[in-house]
Amino acid sequence: MSKVLPVLAVVASIFTLWYAAVPFMNVKETLTGLERAGTTVVPDNPIARRDASAVALVLRNSFAIPATYAQERPRLPAPHQVAQDLWETVVLKKVTSKRSLVYHGWITLSATLLGFTIGTGAGILLAVGIVHSRAMDMSVMPWAIASQTIPILAIAPMIIVVLNSVGIQGVVPKAIISAYLSFFPVVVGMVKGLRAPDAMQLDLLKTYNASGSQGFWKLRLPASMPYLFASLKIGVAAALVGAIVAELPAGGARGLGGRMLTGSYYGQMVQIWSALVFAAVLAASLVLLIGWLQNRTLKRMGLL
């Protein structure tokens, strides 16, 4: 209970703020629309209104406030508009319909999961290499950091084209971009984790004359689990962002990224917002899922 209450309170105040902001954000377009419909508004020309402050406009045209909540192309949709769109696209539409967010969510999710798997696998392998080879540690680590400064969205289309030219198409290019974003947190966390055993724990194995692989399986890997899970949580959220980014160049195609793009293309703000909310819910669920796995695994390992 003490967990839910604060969250509810914060959510409630966000909604309050949100509702309060709507008239100010939407007042200009609303007034223009009303003016076209023949209502008198002050000031009575759009250019003067463009240069007027939103607060003044709302105060001087308070009759227009209800209309700001019902705009078709709002600058800021009201929460209930988003909720209604979500209801229609998530619940009412058949999940196989191209207009169903569940359908698009699944497209994105499948790329996310594939990319996350690739990214995690590659991240763990790289971390193992870094921990076991000094040369790799010294040469690769600085570049792994630098690689994260490359704006992925900028090269995502090129990656897709290049992969296309070698015959890789479909979900795989998306997964690769999503893997690119998720591998870095995994490398960093896993390197930390594999190095977590202290000198004493390592020496203990030495006194048993354990081999390198025994050291890995019996000590380093179990010791790295808490770190691995912490970075998996970051990694899975990054993977989702990657998959969405990768859907943009593919253009108006399927997936949540496609939804956001076409929403933006046709000025359907509500559609963008509901895709956004849906994506965030998806990310949160993935993170929760990993948190649950973490809890279970670490409990079973006796680390919690």
Partner: protein, 263 residues
Amino acid sequence: MASPVNTPVISAKSLDLTFQTADAPVQALKDVSLDIAQGDFVSFIGPSGCGKTTFLRCIAGLETPTGGTLTVNGMPPDEARRARAYGYVFQAAGLYPWRTIAGNIKLPLEIMGYSKAEQNDRVARVLELVELSDFGAKYPWQLSGGMQQRASIARALAFDADILLMDEPFGALDEIVRDHLNEQLLALWARTNKTIGFVTHSIPEAVYLSTKIVVMSPRPGRISDVIESPLPKERPLDIRDSPEFIEIAHRVREGLRAGHSDA
């Protein structure tokens, strides 16, 4: 200085060890010579930084001396390590938190390739030895500090190493628990006739347990006194109030103080 009664199990001759650190080299051991015979219980005592741990690690082949010679069972320590001649008990219990007590004890057995049946057998045996039979399925943090320490001793006993090296195993325990574990360790030693190297900061502990007390002093780390104990093998706890005991303790304290003042 040493007692070459029978052929020594461990024999160090003018051992030197210098650590290369970022600023200046640290001479951790200088000209250390010592023989330890089969069945000896040798305590190392000395102020912080005098090289007790370093010496123990050299014997275990975890550190390579930069000078002098050191043999264990007639071979270099590294080879002896590979032949799994030691059990090593660290200052802190150092149990793996993701393994149960039984799992922790099994660890060396798995690595050394014992059969499953043999593993279970041995785990049961050593758990009984340290009076933890009921706790095999528990995780380390479910046990008190003293019980954890006993588990780590059990782990070192599970495979039949002739030599047991213990680095301040009871440092973190309170006096009563410590007394109790001291008694048990002595009983075990009497029963198995292992050779034991034991690091401690406590003078009474060193005197109570050992057949031979090695007093060390720092900067550079060296042996400043070796005291053969005249106490009998059978030692009830109240032997500590006997005049011989107090006499030896006094000698150890003097040795320690000398090491401190010239540092």
